[in-house]
């Protein structure tokens, strides 16, 4: 009996020591050990990246598979962002999720359902340097204030401009507008009615990815869009109304055409638009292919520089098998290594989410050769994001509607922001 009792105490002590130790020393990477007794672990990983950019990602998966023999990743293209959202939704409902994936709005599909597993792993893993990622980037991967995904292929809005049109309008093509006022004046100088039929044929300024750009302007004016902890919209604050007023001024003073955002890209490529604000992901497609001399610059500053973050994230879906989850995490960690992120960035133009990537020689060379990417990459230091929340999609479509009210229906800025704020509040309340 006594012997048994002692054995039990010793056993308990050992258990306590082992776990106690690992608790005291959280950064013990030994905990994330892959069980290889049953051969290599197979995992399934979806990705919403297509075309030549998708090829780059596929190449990374192959590289990972051939670099080691413990984990085999099957990469599966899951459609574009919108379709991936449908595929993930269906898989979530029927519990047929893959091990992980590069998906849009990742936190909605993970954190919302209490899945913060990737954060657990990152905290346990001494090798994973979370501090190397930009703070704004981590916010983009949060739900309810807690990290639940690893941001991956990031883009931010960039100001593209047509140097030829600048010259024709007597503007200096090497000094693009750097403030809101300059933006207004520059754009006004470019807008022209060439054939005199009362309809403008060349416009100074237009935006694509409109909702996103409007958020950029809000942020530049010191507006935080939404108080995420209480889910209170902040559009009606003075900074929000000022932003909307500036937007209205751009329309009223013929710097920007009303309601033509969906053709902004066509206008720009056709040489009918001086300045276009759009995602940095376009740089790779346009560079060296336009008929005019193309250049890119930071978004002009309001009270300060600011841009919102966009793009997809790496999500981990717990499979019920700890070993598979660890393997998935190891693959995600591998994707996040500076060297591999550098390969993605250099070949696609996506902005790396962590600082160490910029130290990679390949990236340095790349930025030297293509100054337009330099703009996008450097701008990341001003990038920030709010945490993901359920009504995010609703908020975006409401922003679009509010801008239409200003542009097409002639709403005053404060009335439009009032409307936007009230609608969003109603939506949030309806879901509670």
């Amino acid at each position: 009996m006594v012997k048994k009792g002692i054995a039990l105490i010793i056993a308990l002590l050992v258990v306590f020591l082992v776990f106690g130790c690992s608790k005291a020393d959280k950064k013990d990477s030994e905990q994330l050990v892959l069980d290889e007794s049953e051969g290599p672990v197979d995992i399934v990983f979806w990705y919403a990246i297509s075309g030549s950019k998708g090829e780059v990602f596929k190449g990374l998966v192959d590289k990972f598979n051939s670099s080691q023999d413990r984990i085999q990743v099957e990469g599966i293209f899951s459609g574009k962002y919108a379709e991936t959202a449908q595929k993930v939704t269906a898989a979530l409902a029927s519990k047929t999720l893959p091990n992980g994936g590069i998906i849009p709005a990742g936190p909605i599909f993970t954190g919302q359902y209490g899945n913060y597993k990737v954060l657990d792993y990152m905290e346990k893993d001494a090798d994973f340097d979370m501090s190397d990622f930009y703070d704004g980037i981590w916010d983009y991967g949060k739900y309810d204030g807690k990290i639940c995904v690893i941001p991956y292929n990031i883009s931010t809005p960039v100001m593209y401009y047509n140097k030829d049109l600048f010259k024709e309008s007597g503007l200096d093509p090497d000094s693009p507008p750097a403030t809101w006022d300059e933006l207004l004046e520059t754009a006004k100088a470019i807008t022209k009615d060439v054939d005199g039929d009362g309809v403008m044929d060349i416009w100074g300024y237009n935006v694509k990815d409109t909702k996103w750009i409007f958020k950029a302007f809000l942020m530049q004016n010191g507006n935080e869009i939404i108080d995420i902890s209480t889910k209170t919209p902040l559009f009606t604050e003075k900074s929000g109304i000022e932003t909307a007023e500036f937007w209205k001024k751009m329309i009223d003073q013929k710097a920007m055409p009303a309601g033509l955002h969906n053709i902004a890209e066509d206008m720009f490529l056709g040489g009918q638009l001086g300045i276009l604000m759009a995602s940095s992901s376009r740089i790779a497609s346009w560079m060296g292919k336009t008929e005019f001399e193309l250049a890119a610059a930071f978004l002009p500053k309001g009270k300060h520089f600011a841009v919102p973050i966009g793009g997809a994230v790496q999500a981990l879906f717990p499979s019920g098998d700890e070993n598979e989850d660890i393997a998935t995490y190891m693959f995600m960690k591998w994707l996040s290594e500076p060297e591999n992120l550098a390969e993605l960035s250099v070949n696609t133009g996506y902005i790396p989410p962590r600082k160490a990537v910029l130290e990679e020689q390949s990236v340095k060379n790349f930025l030297e050769d293509s100054p337009m990417f330099k703009v996008a990459f450097e701008q990341l230091k001003y990038a920030s994001s709010y945490w993901h929340f359920n009504e995010m999609g609703t908020m975006d479509s409401l922003i679009w509607e509010a801008l239409e009210k200003i542009e097409i229906e002639g709403f005053e800025a404060d009335a439009a922001m009032e409307w936007l704020s009230n609608e969003l509040k109603t939506e949030i309340e309806a879901n509670e």
């Binding site: 919403a48 899951s78 459609g79 962002y81 269906a90 409902a93 490529l269 009918q272 497609s285 292919k289």
Partner: protein, 271 residues
Amino acid sequence: MKTKNKLTYVILILSLGALVYPFIWMMLTAFKPDSDLYVYPPLFLPRTWHFENFTRVFELIPFARYYMNNAFVTAIGVVCQVGISILAAYPLARLRFPLKNAIFTFVLLTMLMPFVVTMIPTFMIVAEFRWVDTYKGIIIPLLFNGFSIIFLRQFFLAIPKDLEDSAKLDGCSYLRILINVIIPNTKEGISTITLFAFLTWWRQYLWPLIVINSTKIRTLPIGLKYLLSDGGKEYNILMAASVMAIIPVIIVYMILEKQFIKSITFTGIKG
């Protein structure tokens, strides 16, 4: 009569341009290099003919594999769908049995709910059957097609009763009547619905995307979607692949079109 025919030609030829134009545009785009795509207004003719777009398709996706998968799914899907639709349409059109109207209404009701919402519950059922990522999972849930059942029923309804009656007098069974009388007399209807079924199956996109995971059984439309980068405008490769993808559709159309004409000349119904 003569002037009337002339008017017919004028109307037909005028509509022609509008109808063919996008098709030609698509063909020409398939031959444009990237740089020709960023010119506005778009170029009609490529500045240099760029045949590499076609080979690029094969580099980007396992085109032949997807093509075969698509052909397989389409063949099975079309044959089964048209087969069970003919079977169902016959009694619904020409036989008497209890609950006939109820069943017809039921078929109609199934068509009223948009797929966007039934998709997720349907997928949950398929997952319950463990059919995710299988050919079964792609094909079977889509075999029931209210459109083709109602379509065939309408055609079966239009057959003159005396044809059927004489067969009945000869002592034919119902199955015999279906095979010997109904089907031969509605060839136009059946080839039309086959054409429609072919089109639908060949281009099936959203459902296969949701159900299929592995490259092994992936179908062509999903592959086509992969060819265009997110937000990109490099349509040339997509168009090259689309041109290759619609060739079978045109061939099937031409075969079935011949079928129309053959049946007409054989029976001597129409000049």
